[in-house]
């Protein structure tokens, strides 16, 4: 894992989540903005996947369990498209809120992934 990239990713996910929540509570149905920031979160997750595959080969192995790391990463990668799919099917403002919740969940999951990779608190 690349530390600065991970923190940037957490920041983007939190921001995207807050934007979607704000848009949702303001009564906006899913639009290019909310779906756009969710897409950005997803792209960063895919980038993180590439980093996770390459990093151990480049002398940056995880200190924790790699399978546990991947459970989080794969769940996160699946989560955002699910929320996006929901947003396209159900055109209500609550779908925008759901998008926001998914982005915030991704932020937490990426943070957990960072912990698994770097800090062992056992």
């Amino acid at each position: 894992m690349i530390e600065w990239f991970t923190w940037a990713q957490v920041g983007v996910a939190v921001l995207a989540g807050l934007i979607c929540l704000a848009l949702g509570f303001a009564g906006k149905i899913p639009n290019d903005y909310s779906l756009g920031v969710a897409l950005l979160v997803e792209l960063l997750l895919l980038a993180q996947l590439v980093v996770a595959i390459v990093a151990p080969l480049a002398g940056n192995p995880p200190t924790g369990s790699l399978p546990e790391f991947y459970i989080y990463l794969v769940s996160a990668i699946i989560l955002v498209p699910l929320a996006g799919f929901w947003a396209l099917v159900e055109r209500t403002r609550w779908s925008t809120v759901v998008l926001g919740v998914a982005c915030l969940a991704v932020a937490v999951m990426v943070y957990r992934m960072y912990q698994i990779w770097t800090v062992q608190v056992a």
């Binding site: 779908s95 999951m109 056992a122």
Partner: protein, 147 residues
């Protein structure tokens, strides 16, 4: 039944379902991994983890599925979660040894969804059942007034 339900209440229910779904995935993923990787370290705690995961999955389905039976299932599972997070949360802090835990750290390798009242999950496991039961109560009132 649903005709009289206000759209916004239904909508809030949708968000609730989404959050439940995420928690169900989180609890399932974690407990499956813990059981495969290190079940012997804290069998009781990890078994509870798995139970909570199953209950979250059932609760998610029960919130989506229509009808009276599913409504009862939803109340039962969400009530069970509230009890679980309160009881297990308290034990994990006061006497982690009972659960076979070596620490009460909600972020540790032995942590479960319910450890320290779900602090490792931003207390969502504590807050969610309360919101869920409130939502279900509202839905029951709607069902009654519609009947």
């Amino acid at each position: 039944m649903t005709e009289n339900t206000s759209p916004s209440r239904l909508g809030v229910g949708r968000v609730l379902v989404a959050v439940y779904g995420i928690l169900a995935i989180a609890a399932t993923g974690r407990s499956v991994f813990q059981i495969i990787d290190r079940f012997h370290e804290a069998p009781l705690a990890f078994s509870l983890s798995a139970v909570s995961a199953v209950v979250y999955i059932v609760a998610t389905i029960a919130l989506v599925a229509p009808g009276r039976t599913w409504y009862r299932v939803a109340v039962a599972t969400i009530g069970f979660e509230l009890a679980g997070v309160l009881v297990i949360g308290t034990i994990s802090l006061v006497a982690p040894g009972i659960l076979g835990l070596h620490s009460a750290n909600p972020f540790g390798r032995e942590a479960t969804v319910w450890s320290a009242y779900g602090a490792g999950y931003l207390l969502v496991p504590l807050v969610l059942p309360v919101l869920g039961l409130l939502y279900l109560r509202g839905r029951r009132n709607v069902m009654r007034s519609a009947a």
